[in-house]
Symmetry: C2
Subunit: 353 residues, 2 copies
């Protein structure tokens, strides 16, 4: 582990850019004073923000570029227009060159994934990367992946996700053999897409020492903590994530409106406000901000594009922790225990994405 955790920030990423990224990083810095920052983006936008956050300014270096990836760019456009010049590319490139330990961006997910993959390359034995996140459940936290990096994917891809996800879970949660479930629309073996049933057979047959495959998990089992690691193809994983976030937000809004409707309920709120604070903390989408791109030769964290400074701070925290726990080496060791390819590495196969 390095003395300092060096974090490269795409200061132009997200709906707002520098005025969320820098205040957000400043919040994370108060929690992790051993962080250092490399800020990539338009100096004219970055400097005024740094002026407002002197502690942040002291540990930051700015690298100017006026090229930014737009949220509307297709991955291919972003690569064509922003390769070697955009703030997103440069943040990733800092990781590649060993100048930073992790890159964090709130920019366009597809572009971030394409650039990270193009520049950092996938780990030996991994065909396609994934986005994983820590998901709060009633039993504790779980790792859920893929949240939208790769659309489609065969049984072998799902097996790779299981291996990467359990490496992340064992590192973060200190588990020797995390339980792994495959997201499906029923728990019976006959249910669901063919590739999921095949992946189940594959995981059972492989009986890997680093994970315990427990079967199919339905979408309502994620929040129950049915497994330490929930594996889904990126489309379904993204649907589950957004449905959950949306429901939590709507319930929060509904309850807030109901509690302010009458004087009785306002008094009730005053008495029970610790309970509501606990619920609000539980539902706070900011706290689960920060998807980790897994399967690459470097760590990249994706923040929600529409987050505020508090939320971006959590994404920076996630990046910090991944470095702190030395996740990348640990995943690589699990995937490639002999420094070679993992146990069963068929030929690379691309799906529509």
């Amino acid at each position: 582990m390095p003395q300092k955790v060096r974090i490269a920030l795409d200061a132009m990423g997200g709906d707002v850019g520098a005025s969320v990224v820098i205040p957000g990083a400043a919040i994370s810095l108060t929690r992790h004073p051993d962080s250092e920052f490399l800020l990539f983006g338009d100096r004219a936008l970055i400097e005024p923000q740094l002026a407002k956050h002197p502690a942040m300014k002291k540990v930051s270096r700015v690298v100017h570029t006026d090229v930014a990836v737009s949220s509307h760019d297709k991955p291919s456009q972003a690569l064509r227009r922003g390769r070697k010049t955009s703030s997103m590319w440069l943040a990733i490139d800092a990781v590649k060159k060993g100048e930073a330990d992790v890159a964090v961006s709130a920019g366009n997910t597809g572009a971030l994934m394409a650039m990270a993959r193009f520049n950092l390359r996938t780990l030996p034995g991994i065909d396609r990367p994934a986005i994983a996140a820590v998901w709060p459940t009633i039993r504790g936290d779980s790792v859920v992946l893929d949240l939208g990096a790769t659309i489609g994917g065969d049984a072998h891809h799902l097996m790779e996700l299981a291996v990467m996800g359990s490496a992340m879970a064992s590192v973060l949660f200190n588990l020797e053999r995390p339980t792994v479930g495959l997201l499906n629309i029923g728990v019976e073996e006959i249910k669901g897409r063919e590739e999921i049933r095949e992946a189940a057979e594959l995981l059972r047959a492989m009986n890997l020492p680093q994970l315990e495959y427990i079967g199919f998990v339905e979408a309502d089992g994620i929040g129950k903590g049915a497994a330490d690691v929930i594996v889904a193809e990126g489309f379904s994983g993204n649907i589950a994530l957004k449905a959950t976030e949306g429901t939590a937000r709507q319930i929060n809004d509904f309850l807030r409106a109901e509690l302010s409707r009458t004087w009785r309920s306002r008094i009730g709120y005053l008495f029970a406000k610790n309970a509501f604070k606990a619920l609000r903390d539980k539902l706070d989408p900011n706290k689960s901000n920060g998807g980790v791109l897994l399967g690459l030769k470097g760590i990249v964290v994706k923040s929600h594009g529409g987050t505020d400074a508090e939320g971006f701070a959590y994404a920076v925290d996630v990046g910090y922790e991944m470095v702190h726990y030395d996740l990348l080496n640990k995943i690589n060791q699990m995937l490639n225990p002999d420094g070679g390819a993992p146990p069963s590495a068929p030929t690379a196969q691309e799906a529509v994405s």
Copy 2:
């Protein structure tokens, strides 16, 4: 519309069977006294329940069978073992023969779908059926389909879902031209699976008079009421449904536990209990019980297998309302305005399911 609404019940369906089905139907009967029931199943289990519900007994006729579809049966097994003999088949068959207006079952979804499709056949212009449900949103109710009837499906299948779903929405919500969104993992046109992008082009190009296509909707947009009708392929739709249900249930449990933890919060609960009652009503999964099988020459309603009598009553209500609103004829009219095939009916195409 018939004088009485004649409802065929699979009295053996669901985790519990007759002791949920009959008390549930009895509750629905109090809300819709013009219902009549045909009960299919084991007379030895049905009669004791009817004895406890005299009003229900008065309007019910029992047809004995001791064959029941198990929740573990594959659709093909269920058809082989239960065709012409099982309570599920007989309930559907009563609709086919015109002895009932609608069939309601809490049994195995795959078997129900297979039997309904095999016996009732699909409407002209529909390749594969769907399950649709009314989904409560902050803006009102939406129709969401497919919730798991058909796994996979091409652009044309999604277009059929859009047409059926908007027929249901226009009938239930009295809308001339319901808005329709396609569930996707981003709102940008470049996002998501290929068949979804193709369906978007198809719906735009067709510019159907009976629906207004508004674009992609992310999973957190469903609960916002982003469109009157949300169209998804069955796997994704089921994931969205279960993730939403699970989240709501967990928040409910969490809040209940927090509110009873201290005397302060217990007092707060007493003052604010109307607010909590409103939330509980909003979150009550029973109230959204009852998926409608669309696309068949007959109405079949699927209840959750694990529901209680109160929940099953809602599924019976849904069946009642579909008959009451004459949904089937109205969908058929929308699909086949000239009594023929719909505007663009390519050859039937089967996907993995």
